[in-house]
Symmetry: D2
């Protein structure tokens, strides 16, 4: 029988962490003995458990240790092991794959925290102003010879904390049920946005084109004009629908104000792109006085930092759209660092892409009228992700009202 | 080759009726010749077509004539044929099955319109104040010996009219897309409700329990208190959740005002029922001052005529619930006669049951947060049915605002 | 500060029970101290915890004790308290509301288990062959003067066990994801059905009309004819569609074999009902040789015990349909006692109604093509409930193949 | 009053075209008179209508003429008008926007058909082997000075034909209902694939990663190995999941064969990409004997022409993935020219992108387990698009069985 002792500490009972660790051991075919267990006598005290993990082969044991390590059950301290990347864009054999949880590595006798934690990356070292810093590196950016962590040794993950009691979201539970009062949840989101701002962090909005279709663009525009957004992630479709609406009052040919099909309907979409291309870009169209309102106009006037990422379903696209998906991803990656809350509305593609880049600790709100989409997004989520199954029109209208303090 | 000539008249081109008739003939294996065709030269004039239908057997021909008869392609005038019901609750062989479209029968040389048209019934005759009237009879109510129409002869259906241009819903199209502005559609519904009232017809509301769960009960209550509803169809669940909320401030144990789980949570549901049963009923609970607010309280105070229909998933149920489904159906059947608009929110069971009873000409609105449900309801619908995929909370909040004239 | 000590024992860590109890205490505004804690050193040993619960008021404390009692954190032994029902169909003030978990009450110094545990009932005593037995009683069946448990004292609930390791479902997780291999899950269900049979328990099938629409009726029929079902719960629609198919080869007028619309289409539905009514019932129609195949025919030939429960959307209905919902519920209640597995396919109404009646320990499978429906059913479920989002056609075809041992 | 006469001919009644044209005129605020109408006396003969369209302004009239032109109601013959593109990637003011219907332009006294018709493009002229050919050009490919059609004059669209009677899909209707027999529909698709092959056209498959997750990859692989696919459109995810499965037996860490979570689970995804990148690509990995089975392996062995298009949610990506979305679109555009049937399974992004490129006449099948997705795809579709709401596992298993002639 092969065995190894691991330590687990923190609020490991009420956060379900201990249960998950024991369950994982059993699920992967191992057994355990709890060697030492000190439970926090009151709810403020942390608990500690020392668990002996056993398995019938060394390989199985390694696998179990690896998995429970991802819940924060860490082996005795050892130094992290590095190997050089064998080529550009290739990690060394056995590279450590990051999670989106708070992570540190042991190097030269001390724990170095990873600043820009992101899931599904490697960990590398870099010298910065005479200091050694550890950071994540996505596969396409690693360069030949760069040191990359291999194996689990010397990698420490902080167990997920229970959701903070004081959080505005406390009552929201983890359910995605469409059968709950949305007004209350939206009010909590507004409150959280205020808190994020007070903490000096940024508010990221990720949006899909249905926001404009449904006539809800004006609420998003209002949020921008009242200074509530710092960063916008979207695609060619949202920007084009918005500009089509600004230029012709339609979205895919439907008049937003009256809901009727416009003459020359559907084509306005392509004409809007052509008009912006003929001026050189959205910014130039604003400057030249062609584009005088709408979401994109508001972004430019209020210095909201936007990334328009390309997709294969795009018409055009607009000049600002980054058609190379790796470059678009890097542009998004760069901007998520200071984000304190991410609000993702009516887009699966951009929401999943953004979720991939965010640390687990960032509060994330997913809004979609289709329950399946919300469930899919939450599946990838952490304890700090909430879903609302509702219209983006209702969500944004109510959110603007809450932010302006005049919720009905 | 067997053939027969049918007549079709009305706005048969722009209502798609002619296309459907010709398509049906081909689909059922027949062929046609258009014998005479007079198309209305302008859009105000009706068109007439005389179509020779051909088939290779008499049986096939009969089938085709029967099917296209349901679109209003009627055979030359003949008297309706009757046969006596062989037993209580049993129609005679070959009985005519009604649609929900405007229908008349030919009897003793004149056309008698069916007053209470309802789909999937038989047609019978009754003597009323010396007059012979024709009316639908559901299967369970037919009595032995009662005359029932058999076959298609002498039954005439008016082709469906195109949707009226002046209708508030004109722009809504037939789509159920969740990607449209709901605010505009809801405003059109409020307008239609005003029109129905001006016409002296009644407003029917059909609602499910999610209305209370989501905190939207107060909007329904407000609609009742401002006199906007005449009839309410619901089940034990809506009434119980509403009363639970009125008595304890919870719905299935969730505090509506704060969204948090209440102590004694889930049980409040059963306690609410028990409390009302101990008083003898909702009405008595209102009178005795136990029940002082909520939807059911408003119904009793404002003489809204309600039917609570039982289902096998009910707890309790409340004394007012009609547990026999045939009796509940008859109670609903009785009340739909004067209805000018039916608004059905967040309930598949009661919406389908109500839809079964309504004539095709009654404007019907189906609201549900699940697109599948709305599509299912519309599948059974007519040209006067519209679906909204949205939260009931948003729908009702906005509708009340529109009815009160203060829509944002 | 008010406080009370509770005991919790069993596999309380890996079943998450301890975590849930501590979380509930905090959520309801209490605090705790863990007085004594003995953790099972190996995974086979049970753990015990003695927890001191504190709250700032006696009422709050009672509430917490009540809630955590539902997870199996029980107070020191006290006798259960009874009060007489004040009237027929009315429980006494403060009655204990049952869960669907294994429950016992303390009476005259010993623990009496509740045999027919069912959620949302009261608990009463009955003398049976000289013995006192404790049993649940639904609200509508309680009679004036009958003793009913009030309050929590002397009521003990067994904490939920972790899912059994040997279970065929072990790997299925609790997810409802549509993105998993169904073939594997269906094979596990077949295995579980075999196990249930070997244990001498019964197999319950709950089905909706889409089974017939989609052409999957033949698979259900095959299961019955190979003796795999003991009990069938359905409504008028499933039986009528099945009989329509048996008599005319259509379901709601669509020819099952070819998928084309039949002449006289939709009416076949009503004609089928009329034909059965004219014979007096399904059983008579089988005997008289009118009905010669289909699901209902198979049920009668193979002595499958069926309950057809009425609903307000029924046409007809068929003579066997129990139109009174309370009587239908009682008929279902009677039959669930020996059930070892419940397979619920394509029906929300009957699935929820059945789920309300089943003990938590019965393995329950919910199958629907709409993810929302499955999620809704699972929300009410226990650790022994699994959901599959898939076609009933695929599910039944594959299940029959697995039961017959020829799965591809 | 401004007016103009248009001609409409073909099977304009049973294809609903006439109804749509008249409806559009009214919807856009015009009126009409039917000047001359010749209805095909039998179903084989085409009908002709000459319609006088009237409107109160010239602008409105132009709009109406433009819209009904898209249904094939064409003005009297005039030459197409051209203007030069003002810059690279910019169309001239008032450019004609293409539909996906069969289109010709009038140039130098004769009608020139557009070969590569595609919606939302411009029309340009090119000299090819001494001949003038007309073709579509997407916005990003137009070059300064290139002639582009402006306005509607001289552009002729063939009205949509009714679905061909002989088509295997005839019975399928346009519904997307999940309540129909899938077995029959899938059998019809197999039949259509045989027909497409017999016609010398190509079969395109568009697939999402759920195909691999659900264990259905082996059916797709089998289709490729039996030579049923010519072209595959997919993304990085499908290819990576397939390769992960080939290398490690897992998909996102779930063991496909047993359904259990694998050790090192989720990371296998990234390791699979890294392994392929270290070899230089999928093709090299096949050649070097690293990759020995799976969908991608089958594509390379059987010369299936695949396009892997990048998206911002990609990890890695694999070397074969085209990360620039415009280049990926062009690669897809190039390949759709010979396609006779497109089968799109479990992917919204790639299905919509492909749908944008296909002519309306190509038979298109959309399969997804989420009804919303299928409805969304069909909304963009033509008369030759069908949707199936079902599991991709069931769909592919059944399709392979049908193609191999051993459908149960």
């Amino acid at each position: 029988m092969h065995s190894e002792t691991v330590l687990l500490e923190g609020h490991i009972i009420d956060s379900l962490t201990l249960s998950k660790v024991l369950d994982t051991i059993l699920l992967l075919g191992g057994t355990y003995e709890i060697h030492r267990f000190h439970i926090g006598a009151t709810m403020d005290q942390a608990s500690q458990a020392e668990i002996i993990v056993q398995a019938d082969s060394d390989e199985r044991l390694e696998n179990i240790l690896h998995q429970i390590g991802q819940h924060g059950a860490n082996r005795k301290t050892q130094e992290a092991v590095f190997a050089p990347a064998p080529a550009d864009g290739v990690f060394p054999e056995g590279f450590y794959v990051t999670t989106n949880l708070e992570t540190s590595i042991r190097h030269q006798g001390r724990w170095i925290p990873i600043d820009n934690i992101e899931m599904d990356c490697g960990i590398t070292l870099r010298r910065h102003e005479g200091e050694i810093v550890a950071e994540t590196v996505p596969l396409h950016k690693v360069r030949q010879g760069q040191p990359v962590v291999v194996g689990d040794l010397g990698v420490r993950i902080a167990p997920v904390e229970r959701r903070k009691t004081e959080s505005a979201f406390r009552f929201m539970g983890s359910e995605t049920s469409s059968e709950r009062s949305k007004a209350r949840m939206i009010s909590a989101i507004a409150e959280e946005m205020r808190r994020v701002r007070a903490d000096g962090k940024k508010i990221l909005f990720v949006g899909g084109p249905a926001i404009v279709h449904t006539g809800a663009g004006r609420y998003l525009e209002a949020m921008i004009r009242s200074g509530w957004l710092d960063i916008l992630f979207a695609g060619n479709a949202l920007a084009t629908h918005d500009i089509e609406n600004a230029l012709y009052g339609t979205s895919l040919g439907v008049e937003i104000a009256t809901g009727t099909h416009s003459v020359h309907g559907h084509e306005n979409h392509l004409r809007a792109i052509n008009t912006i291309k003929s001026r050189g870009g959205i910014c130039q169209a604003v400057e030249s006085g062609i584009l005088t309102c709408g979401i994109m106009h508001a972004c430019i006037q209020h210095q909201v930092d936007f990334v328009l990422a390309g997709s294969i379903r795009d018409d055009g696209p607009l000049p600002e759209v980054i058609t190379d998906t790796l470059k678009a991803q890097d542009a998004m990656r760069e901007r998520v660092k200071q984000v304190g809350i991410a609000i993702m509305v009516a887009t699966t593609l951009h929401s999943v892409a953004t979720g991939n880049l965010l640390p687990a600790a960032v509060a994330t709100i997913c809004v979609d009228s289709d329950a399946d989409t919300v469930v899919k997004l939450l599946d990838r989520g952490s304890h700090q992700t909430w879903g609302l199954v509702t219209d983006c029109e209702y969500f944004l209208k109510e959110l603007v009202a809450c932010l302006n303090g005049d919720a009905r």
